[in-house]
Point group: C2
Chain length 199, copies 2
Amino acid sequence: MARYGKEHKQATRQRIIDVAGGRLKRDGIHGSGIATLMADAGLTNGAFYAHFESKEDLVASAVAEQLREQRESFSAQPPGRAGLEQIVRAYLSVAHRDNPEGGCPSAALLDEITRSTDATKRAYTDGLLVVIDDVAARLASDDPKWARMKTLSVFALMVGTLQVSRALSDRKLADEVLEQGIQNALALLDADHPSMRRR
Amino acid sequence: MARYGKEHKQATRQRIIDVAGGRLKRDGIHGSGIATLMADAGLTNGAFYAHFESKEDLVASAVAEQLREQRESFSAQPPGRAGLEQIVRAYLSVAHRDNPEGGCPSAALLDEITRSTDATKRAYTDGLLVVIDDVAARLASDDPKWARMKTLSVFALMVGTLQVSRALSDRKLADEVLEQGIQNALALLDADHPSMRRR
DNA sequence: TGTACATCAGTGAACGCGCGTTCACTGATGTAC
DNA sequence: TGTACATCAGTGAACGCGCGTTCACTGATGTAC
């Protein structure tokens, strides 16, 4: 192949990471083989190890990238509380549930991340906290540690709700779970004054 | 081997299902191979297909069994609201988080169940609803459909919270997530009158 | 009561397959002369 | 300006391995005579 400038190899690496992000979320880590993944990126399997040390290395990179993209997606919403509600409603939407490939990496991969290497778990933790702190800023609290915890716990609620909705084979029930999840998330966010931390 | 009564083969099948339950929750579906699974049950790989049609058949059976056991575990708690709180605190405990093998099948397997066959998803849905309705009876509501939805959505919160706590590589933060999850779950359960369904 | 036989849960080797990973090689290019 | 060479991103075949699944076989037993 052609001898390109140094930006070309980086672009290829990024393309692999992007393709992997979607595949991992749709088919899971074990369900995404390197050969088919590279084919999706328009390359052959052998080229993989010119870009990554191992499959787990790619997984960690892809998870980090997915969280970066999720952060941007959340940031695109209006500022403050209004945006918060939009984030919740978009997250717990039928469209998001039915499109894991383009959706939240936590909802699609949490179980498998838990069973992954420490490096992957660290990449996940670091990336998630950036997302969370970014959203937590909307709470405009003078207690940033409390805002982080509040946001993180409501996020966990949303992740679990989306997953349960995806797993239920009864579609009507699955839709109702999303709706109830929105109510629950908003209710918890409404109780956002430190004085209300315990009921 | 010996020719036993008909109860013997059933006992063997049950043993495989029980062993599989723990292995699946610890290592995931893809991480649990049939050969090692059968070895754990004291058998060789070939015997597997005398008991199950396929691996997915076992997975569906094991998921159903795990949910049956979870129902029993929840039922063992004191009746009414007091038991509810104990269920929440046990579920969102450090002990449960650090022992997926003996814990909740939803928290350990939801992502993979979502990607499984319809039969497995149906087994999951059916088994989960029995668990949920059983717990929902503690709310003693005159609106059983509302009680189911309330319970199911709080359960989803707990599942997501446990998963996030498991994935975080920062243990202190992971512990705090559990604690906040307990507060959130109890707060939502406290708002259990139909008149309070919308804030 | 003693013996031959049918039963059938379990054995263990083998199957094709896709996995993650390695590596000798290719070939288009920028650079040196 | 023209030619030889070094570079290196990407190729594609091959590796050992464990996967899910199949199947001819084993052998201890309850039953029939």
